[in-house]
Amino acid sequence: MHYSVFKIISEGLKGNTGWKPQWRDPEPRKEYDVVIVGAGGHGLATAYYLAKEFGIRNVAVLEKGWLGSGNIGRNTTIIRSNYLLPGNEPFYEFSMKLWEGLEQDFNYNAMVSQRGIINLYHNDGQQAAYLRRANAMRMAGADSVMLDRDELQKLCPFLDYDNARFPIKGGIMQPRGGTVRHDAVAWGYARGADERGVDIVQNCEVTGFQIKNGVCTGVETSRGPIKAKKVAVCVAGSSSRVMEKAGIRLPIESHVLQAFVSEGLKPTIPGVVTFGAGHFYVSQSDKGGLVFGGDLDGYNTYAQRGGLPVVEDVCEGGMAIMPMIGRARLLRSWGGIMDMSMDGSPFIDHTPVDGLYFNGGWCYGGFKATPASGYCYAHLIAKDEPHEVAAAYRLDRFRRGAMIDEKGMGAQPNLH
């Protein structure tokens, strides 16, 4: 069923009796060409592009809970392509371009809202670093603007510019950055994939892999064994747990990241603003709530909840740049499990097991990557060679000394 404004009007006249479920709830079949493990944003996008762009439609997406129950439904919805390194920036810019055409492409309102993202700087050294980044972004075809204090003040009059410890001197802005309705991304991809024949099987946990002589021929699930020519894992925070069942140890630790939403307020924040002297970022949802977050809790965990010290730290960051936030009441907070990699960058690669593919290590930045990750993963699965913008995301890059360490922190996941 094609969605359009005419459809809404005609359904309105018919008392909204003609809408159909957006996807089927099929029983898993015995065999598929491709089985994708995990119906998060990346798994669903992969299935969508496999079917749409690469003509592979005999595909199942297996999900242990309900689709969209993982991080795709828990993130703070920021999209941007303001990276520095050559291995990353072309990939994220490719993703940004896909975001820009996504709603027309999958005929679904994902509320892609390019209101801009601003990273504040507080001293000269930071300004120089951001200028370098701004140039790197432009060289990869992305957009960037350096804002001085006066220009910034016009956009964000509410910031505490003369804070004694962290005076705000200016910012780097990517006008095409912004936010997207995260759940709708999962739903739109799910609907688009389902329409093209992909089976999305929920409540179906993958419990093991069928591997013989180094070749993966299917998976074991809570709903019985399923054969597949190719098995593609993308389970985000559960990466190590799932890949362990194929005997593969990963350069990944699982950490919790928290997010917060305030009560609804009148429009105050133009886009996304991030603090440059501590870890705090904020945007405003379409319902008016301030959506904000900050650091990881910092220790390995699979419990989808964080602790109070980070709540305090995040709120201190908020108070340091926009004291008015202290007047807003906090409505909700929650946590999601991040697949933090050793250099802060992701993987889209073959594994040492033939027919088994891995996508993960997205850290806290995988939402913005969803379209490109799905597209490049589908490319890898269909053609057995990496897409050019994802060619650096290999599992063996540490062995080759080819880390993609944006922050320059070294092999310590909780610092990325």
Partner: protein, 95 residues
């Protein structure tokens, strides 16, 4: 979380800095034939278990000792706290 420090008693985990899996204590021998592989695995690969995890915490805002904490990554329950020094010595290290 409260970490029951072997010398100082119960301390707030916010006083500590977290490093990661306690396997980092067992640094490979650089002269070994397989040193390259061993160092790759040591530096970059992790078990990352869901359940019991032995991990290194540094008491930065306390006595600056390294601890090996055994903690459940699903429940955050801490079942054992040792001085990393003792763990290393038990493995045959001199310090």
């Amino acid at each position: 979380m409260i970490i029951d420090h072997p010398l100082l008693g119960p301390r707030d985990s916010a006083e500590f800095v977290y490093l990661g899996d306690a396997c980092l204590i067992e640094r490979p021998d650089w002269q070994d034939e397989n040193a390259l592989d061993a160092f790759h695995d040591y530096l970059y690969l992790r078990d990352n278990p869901a359940g019991e995890h032995r991990e290194l915490w540094f008491h930065e805002q306390g006595d600056r000792s390294w601890l090996v904490v055994t903690r459940n990554t699903l429940t955050h329950e801490i079942t054992k706290v040792e001085l990393a020094r003792d763990v290393a010595r038990a493995l045959g290290r001199s310090k």
